[in-house]
Symmetry: C2
Subunit: 352 residues, 2 copies
């Protein structure tokens, strides 16, 4: 089952509610694009490619919701819906990328409002379908980097749940495993929302890939003692120079890899590369509710004092000097990134 | 109240049970040195100076427990008790340091077994009293490093609870605050046992020092964006060359500080400096029960899948090249550490 999908029998949009996993597997159903935006904010769905696809389907819902009879009215309603959906989360560029792509198609569309509604859904479906195909291509490229006997460190969740299906960094790991390579995964638990301990561990269990969960701050120990040979992460937005915004903690992991000469590989669909931003300092970084840090329980009791305050930064930027190579669906990109990312993104644009 | 202390009314050893804080403040009482060793293993008490003092009082209990009538028999019983107590935890050198110091005094002792029992207790009490005095002296030196308007990052708990009283790194912060300096503390929650979110936050609340809890993996964000100006940590064992073993995550914090030119200061009593070890690679690193990583609850549910496995490394080694200066009770030690640590340790030995 895909993480996000359109149900053509009921004309509804459905997503796996990732907040409940691994304890509860539950589908959420949407008929209202505003509720999709809220669900993205609340992290019912997360992972840059998955929220891009979810936003696309959200726009298809908005098209259905609109009672506009004129083409121009429907387009205006879609523009309004885009504003709502884009505001759901700031860092992952895929959200804006998917919506902008559909709206470009809307701008060029010729036909009736009824046909346009159908066209928006087809565009959203195409983005979802392409995501799976792109992930598989990235995984084929990335899997060449994993060798028998490796221990690889993985941050956050970048698997099927973070995408429409298959995954980015975890897709690489999954494909390498299916190719028969034998290796071990150290799963950063990924505080504060614990996507590693909850979602990546759950996915690895399903694939039968051996792993151990570690707290994020243990990665340096394994890297410095020779117990880990590679790091694979995703990205929520990568700047034109190869600076990689990703889940908080990625920068410290990259530092530890770099300090020990261990390769550090972001696995990044070209849709996540934002050529409009010269470097990572321009990427908006989301700060979320401190409750996500504070509401942790241990042995049945809240950990922090009841009056405690917290900060909750959701992403950080790993400078390109710490990045060994970036895996994309168009191949593995080596430094200099400014020059070489441009090539893979342009080759993508030509194909799209 | 001290974290560990001898109750002279009941002739019992008492400790604050740090596993229950901040929810429950409870004293545990000990009459049996084996139970003290177990309590150290179970982390009823933690923090290198505190477990050193606890081991000393544990040896005083062992002296009382022994029914030996001959001096040599009592000494043999104490030797056996030392083996039990030293095995409680491997990384913090203070455990062995305190016991070795008392046993050297035992070796030189002349008197009856009854007098020896009294002498062991006096030795343990002296270690505890000195710890408080040493912490205050370290704090005076270290507080000169904090300036008005600073935001400082602190890892684990190094406060009153980690020592007999006052603290090492947190003692520095406490003293700077009492001197009237105004600053903010970012408290690494310190997975997996969350000593920062539980204990440091609780102490800072009591002192009225403003803070925010962050997950450990957020420190790099604050350091790289100019939002933090200094890092203060403790140490469980520092090698002769200034390599610092401390709570897991310290190495990654030091990397992030170093990458941004931010000073990184371990606050280390000379009792924690192990001149017998040339470098940090020789420091034994404890690996604890994976349950400490896995048993985390979030919104009432266990986070990890029930079948998940984990690794739980308790300490890491920060190489001396990442250390700006080491704060000791005998002054602030700058590189080259191999040469300069020797001087402060020798000056300590002369005074002891």
């Amino acid at each position: 089952m895909r993480t996000v999908f359109w149900d053509y029998e009921t004309d509804e949009f459905k997503m796996i509610d990732q907040r409940r996993l691994p304890g509860v597997f539950e589908l959420s159903t949407y008929q209202d694009h505003k509720l999709v935006a809220q669900a993205i904010t609340d992290m019912v769905v997360r992972g840059a490619p998955a929220i891009g696809a979810a936003a696309g389907f959200g726009l298809a819902l908005a098209a259905n919701e609109s009672s506009a009879v004129k083409f121009s009215e429907l387009r205006a309603d879609l523009e309004t819906a885009c504003v709502v959906l884009k505001a759901a989360r700031p860092t992952a560029v895929n959200l804006a990328w998917a919506l902008d792509r559909i709206m470009r198609e809307v701008a060029e569309f010729e036909g009736s409002p009824v046909e346009l509604r159908q066209s928006v859904l087809e565009s959203a479906q195409r983005i979802a379908d392409e995501d799976v195909e792109i992930n598989k291509r990235m995984a084929e490229h990335g899997a060449t980097l994993i060798e028998d006997g490796d221990t690889v460190i993985h941050h956050c969740n970048t698997g099927s749940l973070a995408t429409v299906d298959w995954g980015t960094a975890l897709g690489v790991i999954h494909t390498a495993w299916e190719q028969g390579k034998k290796f071990h995964v150290l799963v950063d638990e990924t505080r504060p929302r614990l996507q590693g301990a909850r979602l990546t561990a759950w996915e690895l269990d399903q694939y039968g890939i051996p792993y151990d969960i570690i707290s994020d701050n243990m990665a340096g120990y394994f890297l410095s003692t020779g117990a880990a040979q590679k790091c694979f992460v995703g990205s929520d937005r990568t700047a034109a120079n190869g600076d990689v915004a990703n889940k908080i903690g990625t920068y410290m992991l990259a530092l530890a890899a770099h300090d020990n000469g261990i390769p550090f590989y972001p696995v990044v669909p070209t849709s996540t590369i934002d050529m409009s931003l010269a470097d990572g300092s321009l990427i908006p970084i989301e700060e979320r509710d401190p409750a996500e840090v504070l509401e942790l329980q241990f042995q049945g009791e809240q950990v922090a004092p009841v009056e405690a305050t917290a900060r909750n930064i959701a992403f950080d930027v790993t400078p390109n000097r710490l990045v060994t190579a970036i895996v994309t669906e168009n191949g593995i990109v080596h430094p200099p990134f400014e020059e070489n990312l441009k090539k893979v993104v342009e080759s993508y644009s030509l194909k799209a």
